[in-house]
């Protein structure tokens, strides 16, 4: 232990010890927490899935949507909305709502994947509706056409979601959210179910192939670096005007004051 006694009075000893301790603690924790992996219950049996969903529904959703999803004074009926709608609303965290404001906003999901699937199966079992879409099942990367998707997006979506998918305001505090960061499956589900203020874009209006193109364009816009410097939020001229009135003229007035100051 000569090594320690030789260096323990060094001024680097304390910080080094702290770093070592943190490293050991961190490693131990990450190893330990990695082992708390929860196995998803294999949902092979459809009836048990529906039963499980019914149970979850009764506990978490029925107070607003009714015991049999028939709807109530504050929430719509869920008969016929399909698994896609449930998967979208619950999977993006919109349902259950955090508060009774004008619109449910995206947040960390309350239910995990298996529970969401159970809820979806239960609601789908009540009346037929569109099935949920898995991102992995969509071949948007291979079969979509970015340019055509952009054209479709500008024709059908940009009026609410903005030219770059950044979202926009609707009346009475409702809004079209940003589509950046949304999963392909969720985008697809949103188009076929029309959540909240959004209209339904059926396969007759926008064909499945075109939907994939839209997803491909959204993903390309998401990945596109800001080509002209800082993007200023991709919201159009408002932020540009703000910058010219603050940094722009502010900086130039600063220079003018400096130039006109008397040498002391």
């Amino acid at each position: 232990m000569n090594f320690i006694s030789r260096y323990r009075r060094s001024k680097f000893f304390g910080p080094a010890l702290l770093a070592a301790a943190l490293f050991i603690l961190g490693t131990t924790y990450s190893v330990a927490s990695a082992t708390t992996f929860k196995a998803v219950t294999p949902a092979s049996d459809k009836t048990t899935l529906v039963a499980e969903g019914k149970e979850l529904f009764a506990r978490g959703c029925s107070s607003c949507h009714g015991l049999n999803a028939e709807g109530g004074s504050i929430a719509p009926s869920l008969l016929g909305v399909g698994a896609a709608s449930v998967d979208f609303q619950v999977g993006t965290g919109r349902m259950p709502m955090a508060d009774m404001s004008v619109q449910a906003s995206r947040k960390t999901p309350v239910y995990d994947e298996a529970q969401t699937a159970a809820l979806a199966a239960y609601v789908a079992s009540l009346a037929p509706g569109p099935a949920s879409i898995k991102s992995a099942d969509l071949a948007w990367e291979r079969s979509g056409d970015t340019a055509q998707g952009g054209e479709l997006f500008r024709t059908n979506c940009a009026m609410c979601h903005n030219f770059a998918g950044q979202g926009g305001a609707l009346s009475q505090g409702k809004y079209a959210p940003s589509v950046m960061g949304a999963e392909p499956g969720q985008i697809y589900e949103a188009m076929i179910t029309g959540p909240q203020s959004m209209p339904v874009f059926s396969d007759k209006i926008i064909t499945p192939a075109e939907k994939l193109s839209i997803i491909k364009w959204i993903k390309s816009a998401e990945a596109e670096p800001s080509l002209g410097g800082a993007s200023l939020g991709r919201t159009g001229p408002v932020t540009e005007g703000l910058l010219s009135w603050t940094l722009g003229i502010g900086g130039l007035i600063g220079v003018a004051v400096w130039l006109a100051s008397k040498a002391r």
């Binding site: 952009g150 809004y175 800001s226 002209g228 408002v238 220079v255 130039l259």
Partner: protein, 530 residues
């Protein structure tokens, strides 16, 4: 004399013998200008204009002002194969294929925004200091002309790339033209050469944007500057500064160096903005087709107030004699801007009518010393800010968690209620500042030093102002109210009775002020100690 000096001398002599410039140069190069940062705002506008000319010329080399339909085959993947106008395709070409093209486009656009910002700040400086008074009314009018043309020129430039925002803007401009009663639809057909959007609009506005308006700009700026030169620059009041002199530095060499340096700083600053901050990313907007629209469609800021007015207008329409009159466009789009700009242009004449002051002024006012003018200025500014905010109502709504309806109602009420409040508050603040000045001159600065006198009394030591400072605070003239006879000697009412009464009231409002300390007040106080 060294060889170098001899060589320079002979060159100068050669030029002088052929142009006779020496005498003129000698007189004008030593011309004196006063020095103040606020006098450099107009310079920023001028330099931005030069930057616009240079960067704009660069852009014309590759821009194709045509609405001919082409298929995009350039470098920007997300648009490849789309049908678009040649104008839009060539703007993409400038952005992605021309070396330095995107930088130049962004410099051009930032310079345009800064040009308008500088014009407006320059206008505010001129207004609040009273620099528009006789003999400078014509220059004020020229300035209003330049501001108006700047708005039009900027809007045309914004429209040229034929992207989705451009087209939306032009569509709104078309709607405003159509809103003119009776002749509107004919005018719109005339401007667009047929139904919207037609094929001729881009080439037409291109000619106006790069030839006609810059030419008019050059001419007006020249006259604007010549008048400044001829009438001499105004100066802030201070010891040794009078209505008959100009205290400052000579053009050569001080201002040559300062102004030259400032030009490069403005250029550098604009280039910096163009390099680091994206502006008008047309490749994201996509090509214009009348079937598309995007959330957050906004004009550039100098049109934002107009957009804000249109956005807050309630839906009013009348049908008469087979014509529809869209009051919801006509009032905010044409009538209110018309009133605003006419009022602004006529303000120097209105003020001289209110005060009855027809003399020349070369010394500037401190804004507090003319409370009514300052209040009118802040009132108008408040109006503009409310309308400008409403122009961005959707962006404000999404970013601050508000609703468009709240913002619209705030603006509808605020645009009527806030300006009068701003007027009253500003006027009171000005009068309070006058009172503070009076206090300062008579009793000096509070030093915060408390002294106990031998008999136990505590006093705070007031430090007397320097004579220069006292002069600056008291040099302004306080005009008496006009006394306009409402009746003549035999008791017959003045035939211009109503106008006289109005002028009397305006004068009374305008001349409301706190009496400044007179020489007598100062003498009575002795040396300022008490």
């Amino acid at each position: 004399m060294s060889a170098k000096e001899r060589a320079a001398g002979s060159v100068a002599n050669y030029v002088d013998e052929r142009t006779g410039a020496a005498k003129w140069m000698k007189k004008n190069l030593t011309k004196v200008f006063p020095d103040h940062w606020s006098f450099m705002l107009g310079e920023v506008a001028l330099y931005s204009f030069i930057i616009l000319l240079l960067s704009g010329t660069f852009l014309t080399f590759w821009f194709d002002p045509s609405m001919k339909e082409v298929e995009y085959e350039g470098n920007y993947g997300p648009l490849s194969g789309l049908k678009m106008s040649a104008a839009y395709a060539s703007t993409l070409h400038i952005s992605f294929d021309i070396r330095g093209g995107l930088l130049m486009r962004q410099i051009h656009h930032w310079a345009a925004l800064l040009f308008m910002v500088a014009i407006v700040t320059h206008l505010l400086r001129v207004f609040f200091t009273g620099a528009f008074r006789k003999p400078r009314e014509f220059n004020w009018l020229l300035g209003i002309g330049l501001l108006t043309l700047g708005i039009v020129e900027g809007f045309l430039g914004y429209s040229l790339p034929d992207d989705l925002l451009s087209g939306t803007g032009i569509r709104i401009a078309e709607a405003i033209i159509q809103a003119i009663p009776v002749v509107g639809s004919y005018l719109a057909y005339f401007v667009f050469g047929g139904p919207f959007p037609g094929e001729v609009f881009i080439p037409r506005i291109y000619t106006v944007h790069i030839l006609l308006l810059p030419g008019i700009f050059l001419a007006l700026i020249t006259v604007h500057l010549m008048l400044v030169w001829y009438q001499k620059h105004t100066q802030y009041p201070g010891p040794g500064r009078t209505e008959k002199n100009v205290v400052g530095y000579p053009l050569m060499p001080i201002y040559m160096a300062k102004a030259g340096g400032f030009f490069f700083i403005v250029f550098g600053f604009t280039a910096f903005l163009g390099a680091v901050a994206s502006i008008n990313p047309i490749w994201l907007f996509g090509p214009y087709t009348p079937a598309q629209i995007t959330a957050g469609s906004q004009p550039d800021w100098y049109m934002g107030w107009l957009d804000g007015l249109v956005r807050m207008a309630p839906p009013l329409e009348t049908h008469a004699f087979g014509h529809t009159i869209s009051w919801n466009i006509l009032i905010p789009g044409l009538i209110i801007p018309g009133i605003l700009f006419t009022g602004m242009a006529l303000y120097p004449f209105i003020e001289s009518w209110m005060t009855g002051d027809k003399r020349e002024h070369h010394l500037l006012d401190r804004p507090r010393n003319v409370p009514t003018r300052t209040a009118i200025g802040v009132m108008s500014l408040t109006f503009m800010i409310v309308t400008l905010l409403n122009g961005g109502n959707d962006i404000i709504a999404t970013h601050f968690g508000l609703t468009i309806n709240q913002i619209m109602w705030f603006s509808r009420i605020g645009v009527l209620v806030l300006p009068p409040i701003a007027y009253i508050v500003t006027k009171r603040i000005c009068l309070s500042l006058q009172r503070a000045d009076r206090e300062l001159v008579l009793h000096g600065k509070e030093t915060g030093r408390l002294v106990m006198l031998p008999h136990g009394e505590f006093i705070e030591v007031h430090e007397e102002l320097s004579p220069e400072k006292k002069w600056t605070l008291t040099q302004h003239e306080q005009l008496p109210q006009l006394e306009i006879a409402q009746e003549n000697q035999s008791g017959v009412r003045n035939p211009k009775g109503l106008r006289a009464k109005l002028q009397q009231r305006a004068s009374r409002a305008h001349q409301e002020q706190i009496e400044k300390p007179s020489a007598k007040d100062l003498l009575e106080l002795g040396d300022g100690h008490h």
